[in-house]
Symmetry: C5
Subunit: 357 residues, 5 copies
């Protein structure tokens, strides 16, 4: 039952460790850590790739926005190295490598620490989930990904590289917006995927409800529970970006975060709608199953009941009494058939009249 593991990460191995202990919790990708740095302003874009964390030094202040994207938080030493270069708070680093955080935002004064979850539909019909951590400073943005399946940021990278678009002239907070927007946008794919599966199961329910439909519905309910866990706290976090009083967020960007907030609420709305639909489908399933079984049993019991009196009658004339007058009648046998047919017809009529047949 693999999807369940999402709820039972071995979080307890951290018990007893001092705060700020970096312990990786979660799945590890097969590849090594990758650090890509993008420095851009409205005039130019500059890109670097580091394949070893040790090569990484603190960035010289540049005239523009620096985006440092790290894929692979399982490399705890590399994360510690990067964290120390920038004197990030140990609790921030601890949360980055512990990939079972719930979405949240924390204000550390000099920088904002944001955690959210990237969801992607899988081939099996459900979805995978990775943690994305952002550290937003005045002119830089760090993004930490688990690095298992790639990210949803190619559109943003393209816009930066093209050198056109609004993004190049704006600050790091707008970059954070663009990335968070991309993540929230990708939720819609997951939801549409989910919506299609709901329609499929609904059709299956209408045609041939069986035990596998039930398991599909229960499985989808479990996924909705997980989805809710991912999106509800997100709303609160993005609401802070829209309304909070951090100086790192410019007023012009807040309008955009309002837009993301709006999308998040739409996502939550849809998740709640799915939850209601699934409850309705569960009711429908249970009622269909019991309806069908009852129908079978009703029909069969009717059949059985018609034959009860008939069997009794033929039993009567199978008795061996010395004196049993009807047996002597020449047309007794045919008269009995007539009687039995009459009884059957009357019972069928009665059943029809009372709508039991």
């Amino acid at each position: 039952m693999p999807p369940n593991h999402r709820f039972t990460h071995k979080r307890s191995i951290k018990s007893g460790l001092p705060p700020g202990s970096l312990v990786h919790i979660g799945k590890s990708p097969d590849k090594a850590i990758q650090i890509s740095v993008m420095v851009y302003n409205s005039d130019a874009v500059d890109e670097h790739q580091y394949h070893q964390a040790a090569q990484y030094r603190q960035l010289s202040r540049s005239n523009g926005v620096t985006w440092i994207n790290i894929e692979g938080v399982h490399d705890v030493e590399a994360i510690r190295h990067i964290g120390e270069c920038h004197t990030f708070h140990p609790l921030v680093l601890e949360d980055i490598v512990n990939t079972v955080q719930r979405p949240k935002i924390e204000d550390y004064g000099d920088y904002l620490f944001i955690v959210l979850r990237m969801l992607r539909p899988t081939d099996q019909g459900d979805f995978s989930s990775e943690q994305l951590s952002l550290i937003l400073g005045p002119d830089y943005l760090f993004t930490f990904q688990e690095g298992i399946k790639g990210d949803v940021f190619d559109g943003v990278r393209g816009r930066i590289r093209s050198g056109k678009g609004k993004i190049c002239g704006m600050g790091s907070d707008y970059l954070a917006y663009a990335l968070i927007d991309a993540v929230v946008d990708s939720y819609f794919s997951v939801l549409e995927n989910f919506g299609e599966r709901i329609v499929d199961v609904e059709e299956q329910l209408a045609l041939t409800p069986n035990h596998s439909s039930l398991q599909l519905i229960i499985g989808m309910k479990k996924e909705v529970i997980f989805l809710r866990k991912s999106v509800w706290p997100l709303r609160e976090a993005i609401s802070f970006l829209e309304r909070g009083d951090s100086e790192l967020l410019h007023d012009s960007t807040r309008l955009y975060f309002r837009d993301v907030y709006d999308h998040t609420v739409q996502v939550i709305d849809t998740v709640e709608t799915y939850r209601d639909l699934l409850s309705g489908m569960l009711d429908l399933y249970l009622s269909s199953i019991s309806n069908r079984t009852n129908e079978v049993m009703k029909f069969l019991t009717v059949i059985g009941t018609i034959f009860m009196p008939l069997t009794f009658l033929v039993g009567v004339y199978g008795m061996n009494f010395k004196h049993l007058p009807e047996l002597e009648w020449y047309n007794g046998y045919f008269a009995l058939w007539g009687l039995m047919i009459a009884i059957s017809l009357l019972m069928v009529l009665y059943f029809k009249k009372r709508r039991w047949l």
Copy 2:
């Protein structure tokens, strides 16, 4: 299962696009975009029609209120053109053409952006839904409709054209009120329609509950889920119009928005009442069905049980034992009939006494 599509719009095609990208999401009407401009004050009314967006220029400031009504937001280029004439924020335009917004209000300083949904009952008994976007400025009001089924504003147009009525002497905020009021008023038609269907299904339930009643109830529950999604956020939005601190809204108009707010709360109340009624009907349906089936089976089992001992008895006297004294009795056969009738009567009496029959 068409009504489901309402929950699964292909919202994801926008993933990865920069903010402010105008992508039409929703159904397209068959006709081209239509722009009607109405300029009025307490003295005169002036009307124009544009059939091509390119003809449209920014309006010269006039001494009165200008109402620009655009039908057909699928013409993305036209919307962009209009938006640029008035330097509306790109996010506003994006939301106008993406017709799966939830009701909301956004304050952009110079203007308010309001989104709501026009509902109309259809011939199939359910209702269709179109997005209506309003941009309310100091002396103008833009209304953007999907343009699929026409609008509910003929009453307002009539009042303006008649030149009498309060509306001609008031500002653009009063016009916005009049239109929003017309939209909320039209919800009552949908609700009454819905209420009549509930009464119909209730009657059907009382007479002949069957599987189709269940599907009607489940279908109506789905519609209620959609209705709630449309009206709950509306309450919050209209509450802003009543209490918010925008300078675009005059105190004299706020009284009227309080009235609309009141109507919205009435709509929500009714929707919630319908939800409760539908839950009650589901209980009633399930209980009726199981009641009826149980009644059938009880009756039939009683019948069967009466014949069990009788069939056993006639079997006894159908045995071929050499020495079976009763068979020799001259009135054995009639005595047996007497016994069997007595047994039957006793069982019927017993069943009656224990109220099983």
Copy 3:
């Protein structure tokens, strides 16, 4: 299904009309409008009756409190006439004649507009509902009733006429309190009536649960839904009278409104208790029914099962095999009876032991 009409008033006929349009929605009494005016202070009481609205003029300011009670809001012209005499806001008049308002309070500066519902138990066991609208000014109070069944204000009238009592020395706000208190007090009759019906149905459930009990429970659940709609908003409205900052309410009267608030909360508490009780009764009903049916079927199946093996045995000795030794035994028949009685007893014992009988 008449009680349902309460949820489906033809509210939609107002769609498209300008705000302040006076359209009567609701039932009309058989009689004409009646206007009674009571002017009183601690020294004297003066009463007038108008049977035609046109006779009515604005009241001269008197040294005391003026209570104008209007019965019959279906006479739209009369209401308009009265409203114009006092320059009440058109929205107020609109709400007075549209008798499907939810309880509310609106502050218009010079006067407060209060809407609530008068409930009264009917002979059929349920209750009727009328809208009562109050306009509370500095030294006057208007009350508008539907006028279908009379009101609950005779006690208040008596106290004023008697010239004693606290009421004569107090202002119009105290009069409003006295009337609202009378209305809320009358809710207790409805609730007690309802409580007695709950006890009746509970007893019926304990003795002979049947389908009609279910319909009673479902019907009462519907009434509770309506009751909740009437009392929940009332709480908010009366809370404004207790704590709001209108100058029309004196501090000495607020204590009394706190008392009414308290009663309203008691009413809500009781309604919620009834809701919970009805849910419990529904559970009890469903469980009783299924219990009884299962009991029947269990008993009958046991009977049937005892006769199955016996019928098989007598069938064995009804066979016509040439060589069937037992048939030749002289006491075979009696031995078989012994065997069959033994089998029956053993099965009954087994059933008893496993507590199936």
Copy 4:
């Protein structure tokens, strides 16, 4: 169904009476009103008993705390007399004699009026409820009890009489605290009693679930509904005592009220836990019952089904065809027995394999 009467007091007899009308609602004890006065400070304690209210005069201001305890609020005239001696507000007196108040606190400036409910377990396993009203002034405390079953204040009286303890040196607010604490403490007895009954029913459910278990569960659910009505509003009231801004409450006493608040929350927690446990038990009961019935029917149907084919077979060889070869075989009878035993065994095996037996 006596416990139900708790929900249907004849509250309506007060309809139409002016506010402040003293009408006793509730049960009356058999004895006459009793007034006990205790005046104490850290030096001395003085006690009086009045058996007739008329003897009672307003107390001379003493150097200490005066506790006037009145048992028997059914004596409306006595309550009026006492109220007039101290010029308490008529609404306060009205609430004292109307013993169906919900717990509340009201600030009348000079004094606080507090209502709560004393609960006590009865011999029948459930609990009785009496109203306790307190009027807390700067140096006095009135307590009004229904006087049916005695109170829970003997501990407090003992502490005062002993002259030691903290209570003698503190003000009237501390006395109020001590009494309220005693009342809340007594809730724990009711809850423990209730908890033991839950354990009993749970054990009964595990052994022999029957219809009486259901009635016990439903009955206890009703009691929980009543308990919740008594304790939820209490929380709000005591929260006022802890945090409200009345000058009658000293800061040193507030710490103690925080403790009572804490206990109240514990009581609420426990009540909510019981509610959840009872819901779980209802599920368990329904599932046990249906499980047992299904088990019976499954077993019996299996038995019946084994005999169906056998009875058919013996019927075959009971036929009277002229030419029926098997009947002529010498060992036909025994061969048939073999066949029938084989069929039975195969069916039993099949049932066992599919886990139906």
Copy 5:
């Protein structure tokens, strides 16, 4: 049913006692009270053990943090002695020995009083719960444990003894943080343990659902009810530590409490998820059971129904009518077999077609 006792502690024995009465409520460990004192700063660590409370004296103010850990709150006299040495408020001591407190925090000005629950998984699969009380002063921290199963603080002790680590340089508030963090961390073990049991039961449900699965699910639901009682109030308490305005908490420590708060919310999230999963499992169980039973009964009824008409037919030809032509036919017997086989096949086909088999 031992886990139930958790809900029914004999709390009532305290009724009537004055506030601050020290009465131990809860289980007692077998050993005597143990007092361990740790005094540390960034330079040195000093440890003492007292085995008799009387040896304990108030600590001389030292240059560092003093952690006094007391195991065994059943020794009421010892607790009183310690409390008096430090003039703690009697209510604090009362709550320490009454080990059925809900998690809470109370600000006494000079010190904070914090109560929480230590949970630990037991060998039986569920978990045990002990109360941990903390008194946090400016340079000291008292911790009171029940002392039944040991604590989870060895990690913290190790960090202090090692003399390195951040903890030695920080104040008593950081020590409180470290201990609370250790407690909350230990919840994750309980949750993981619980999660594994959920997976086990889920697998059992998928393979062979039976009555014991139901009892497991109901039992786990009860544990979740208890877990919720332990963690929900904790959130509020820790939120105070993060945001409250006590001077005992330094800003640098608040960041860490934010981290604990975060973990607490994660714990609550997981508990709520388990609750939802258990509800889903209950649905699945009930549906599986009814599915299986229905399947059995359907199959068996089908079998029975096929044999009904056949038994009737063989009964027909077992009749003894004088004139029964078919009996005379030479191949009548074989023709009948043909007919019966045909009927059986047709019925099987019909059942298959309607998907009843």
